[in-house]
């Protein structure tokens, strides 16, 4: 099993309970707005409080809150790429991408990461000068430098037009082999080209 998880969370009236397992390397997480996709993703990354969470990556138990195994986000080695990238606006692209280097034993070099996403030479650019697609690719490169065990991509295609979406997909395909990923989208066609398996959720529960 590449990936197995079970997350339970509560946000006011909203109740989330989703479990899934798959040998696939890229898993799509699909559902309408408000289904709980972001909550689920952030729960796996440790960025939001949950009732219980269990995560196994490549058959290794990484998180099991009920057993007391709940490392904080900076020790979980789960990469998270936010919608629209969220590069640090006060740092150049190169510093952004290399941000994780001090915290990781064997980080990827900034040059290699930028090359993987076709942003060679962008080190000294400022985030505010990048296009939407470039920002997302830079954010992906940033996450990769930390050599995460799992990559979570929250709506990487939202706000991109068809041409740019098509341009982003080959990069993600290349990454699939390096690291397992969960890709969130509210549009199922986006994940078709990329993901080998799909979880559909609605109102906090799995629908398929």
């Amino acid at each position: 099993m590449s990936l197995a998880f079970h997350v339970r969370a509560r946000r006011g009236d909203f109740d989330l309970d989703v479990a899934f397992a798959s040998p696939a390397r890229a898993i799509g997480l699909v559902g309408p707005s408000g289904a709980g996709k972001t909550t689920l993703l952030q729960g796996l990354a440790g960025l939001t409080p949950v009732k219980t969470a269990r995560l196994t990556i490549d058959d290794e138990l990484v998180v099991d809150t009920e057993a007391g195994l709940a490392p904080p986000p900076h020790r979980r080695s789960v990469g998270y790429v936010f919608q629209e990238g969220r590069l640090f606006p006060h740092l150049q692209v190169g510093t952004n991408v290399g941000f994780a280097r001090p915290y990781v034993a064997d980080p990827m070099s900034v040059g290699d990461a930028l090359r993987l996403v076709d942003l060679e030479g962008f080190e000294r650019r400022w985030p505010s000068t990048l296009s939407g697609g470039e920002m997302r690719r830079a954010a992906i490169a940033r996450a990769l430098v930390a050599r995460p065990r799992l990559l979570l991509l929250d709506e990487p295609f939202s706000g991109l037009d068809h041409a740019r979406r098509a341009a982003l997909i080959p990069h993600l395909l290349r990454l699939r082999e390096e690291v397992p990923m969960i890709v969130v989208s509210h549009d199922p066609r986006d994940v078709e080209a990329l993901c080998q398996d799909v979880v559909v959720i609605a109102a906090g529960r799995r629908v398929s």
Partner: protein, 257 residues
């Protein structure tokens, strides 16, 4: 860790800058100064004597003037004074009671006289105090609770039987120099100050000076504080030297032998 290092570098630069400002503004001192806290009426006289002393001995003198009551409270509260000179006995007694001064160093240093002053260009008919009551002006005095000049004024005017009549016309000053300033600026028509104060500015003139038998007994005690240095003792001795006495008389004080 370049980003974090850059931040720490910027942060330490700011701290260094601030410390440099602080250091630059320190007084450059070759010898540690003798700090004198004194009654406000001594401002000019002590200023001149301190200048003479610094020139002769190279030892800096730091002067701080306030009403005797304020000085006493500050010294009681730990203010860094070496020598204390006040304008009456009660405040010095208080310091002696709490052990803030060395009783064996206490001496009566100077005397003074009370006068009534008015603005130099004021026209006054007859007895100034009577004139004041007729014209409805104001009389500036020190706050009797903290300014000896005010307490002496109250003593004298009570002795003349006019304190009660004058009470509604009073303006209180925080120290005797403030009283002088009130008169100089025209905020009060008359003021009760020391003869030495009247000489310190052209803006006022003396309009009434009680004869010696009506003057209250004004005396300035001086003492070393409990933690004073040997240099402070030397300065206190200097204040009783003939040279210093001449200076005090020059500024209108009476010296005691």
């Amino acid at each position: 860790m370049k980003a974090a290092a850059g931040l720490t570098r910027r942060g330490s630069l700011i701290v260094l800058f601030a410390l440099a400002v602080a250091a630059c503004s320190s007084r450059q001192e070759t010898a540690s100064p003798v700090t004198v806290f004194a009654a406000a009426s001594l401002t000019d006289a002590l200023g001149a004597i301190a200048q003479d002393y610094e020139r002769e001995t190279g030892r800096p003198i730091r002067l701080s003037f306030a009403a005797s009551g304020a000085v006493a409270r500050q010294v009681e509260a730990g203010a860094p004074a070496d020598v204390v000179i006040l304008a009456d006995h009660p405040w010095m007694d208080r310091l002696q009671t709490v052990g803030a001064i060395r009783a064996d160093s206490r001496r009566d240093l100077l005397g003074n006289r009370l006068v009534i002053v008015a603005a130099s260009d004021a026209t006054i008919d007859g007895d100034p105090l009577v004139w004041l009551q007729h014209t409805g002006g104001r009389l500036a005095v020190g706050d009797p609770d903290s300014v000896p000049a005010g307490a002496y004024a109250r003593e004298w005017l009570t002795g003349r039987g006019v304190w009660g009549d004058l009470r509604p016309l009073l303006v209180m000053g925080g120290d005797v120099r403030a009283v002088l300033a009130f008169v100089a600026r025209g905020e009060a028509q008359l003021g009760v100050v020391y003869a030495s104060d009247a000489r310190s500015t052209q803006a006022v003139r003396i309009v009434l000076e009680p004869p010696a038998d009506q003057q209250p007994k004004i005396v300035y005690p001086a003492a070393l504080t409990a933690a004073a240095s040997p240099e402070a003792a030397r300065f206190l001795d200097h204040l009783r030297s003939p040279a210093a006495a001449a200076r005090f008389r020059q500024f209108g004080f009476e010296t005691l032998d």
